[in-house]
Symmetry: C2
Subunit: 238 residues, 2 copies
DNA sequence: GCCCATAGTTGAACGTGTTCAAATTCAGCT
DNA sequence: AGCTGAATTTGAACACGTTCAACTATGGGC
């Protein structure tokens, strides 16, 4: 009675998937701005209005892009992580493969951040606790930590996945702006920052750093909570 | 012969200023998205095309907003700085007045960052070495440092104005997203981060931190240089 | 077999930012 | 006074994202 709705929602899902595939393909080939909703609809063989029936706006197509990207990255990085035991090596692997995965979308990614940085945008990666992609991404950094043979105090260990995710967002932001050949600058930045991060984490784990560490972590928690509460009222307005 | 071109460029400057004033006023009252170029042109008493003759795009109107904001902030903060002697107090003063100054534009500011975060945007505050507003803003933090009675090693002292500017950008970013009453959260964040920054600067100035400090500063310089070189090729395309 | 609520689909229409060829004004020159 | 080229100004036109009232298909209930 409630399970056998094969056609009811089935048709819609199919059309939605078709539009999404078409859009992502065109984004990859021509970039975001150069891909019009009309062109997507036409190539997908549906009407313009139909595309808007499934995606409230052009921006919402980007959310699907986030998801796709993360899945691809996971598939690449998880097997590689099994061979790396130190925190530094594991972080390096994650960051390098992340950039590798994003490469085909370099042009497209610029727009991604432009819209994501807007507070009212539904794509703002810092808002909306329930965003599954972000949670999954933070989860990956938790896994990076778990598998590493390193002693880290519990208070820091709790917040580190989130902090590493923020760091990783920073690297991505740099990569978006990086027009050097083969994005060498970004890879070099990853090498340097991971090395530095590794040292900082060890320093912060030192017992005599405890008071300063505690203070910094309190701040981090406050920031994170604020980010999650923010923009709540704007859901109604939209 | 070359000084007396009163009317030649004078007329244009006048029209340009008129359009700008009108636009900023409407931005403040209705927000950026709700202010159309047509409305600006009409209120300014010029044609739509004329507005585009002086401002290549709607975004270019924002650049003037940056400038205006900084000038206002300077006028407020410079007198106040004369009474503050410690680094911490001086930083607090600068940051608090910054938010005070921006308050009337809270809604508008969201869009500002949205466009500014786009790598190809002419407003990207990290690109374009020659951006005068950014230089002036960094200069303010240099002044904050100069007037403070604190011993800081030369290598750090050189980079600190830039680093403080980046920090200040982070606070502004938070403020844009902050919908708490009277932006209390932002002011609280400023209190906490300035306190932390003060401690970190003292820690980093400690002789035994020298190697780590050197490494971190090398990274900072590289990042800064990269940001300045970036997006150069895109000037042609635009 | 008919009905109807719901899911799905359509394309015209709106308002927007932006472009551009043409018209107009203006200062200096003859 | 008239000419010339540059600066300025115009408004129609374009392409786009988005909305919406209307239409069609579908499948479960009688």
């Amino acid at each position: 009675m409630r399970k056998q709705k094969t056609t009811k929602t089935g048709k819609g899902d199919q059309t939605k998937a078709l539009i999404l595939e078409t859009a992502l393909e065109m984004f990859r080939e021509r970039g975001y701005d150069e891909t019009t909703m009309r062109a997507v609809a036409q190539k997908a063989g549906v009407s313009l209005g139909n595309a808007y029936y499934y995606f409230r706006s052009k921006e919402y197509l980007i959310q699907a892009f986030y998801q796709r990207l993360h899945d691809t990255h996971l598939a690449v990085v998880l097997p590689l992580l099994e061979h790396e035991k130190t925190l530094k090596a594991r972080l390096l692997t994650v960051m390098r493969t992340k950039i590798d995965t994003m490469k085909p979308y370099h042009q497209f990614a610029g727009v991604l951040f432009k819209t994501a940085a807007h507070p009212e945008s539904p794509l703002n990666p810092f808002a909306d606790e329930s965003d599954p992609v972000r949670q999954a991404s933070i989860q990956l950094f938790a896994k990076v930590l778990e598998g590493a043979k390193v002693r880290i105090p519990q208070d820091l260990r709790t917040e580190l996945p989130y902090l590493l995710w923020v760091y990783h967002m920073g690297i991505v932001l740099f990569w978006i702006h990086d027009s050097s050949p083969k994005h060498r600058r970004t890879y070099r930045l990853i090498n340097h920052t991971v090395d530095l991060l590794d040292k900082l984490i060890h320093l912060a784990s030192n017992p005599f750093m405890r008071p300063l560490r505690k203070q910094a972590l309190r701040l981090v928690v406050e920031l994170r909570d604020a980010a999650e509460t923010i923009d709540d009222e704007e859901q109604e307005t939209a």
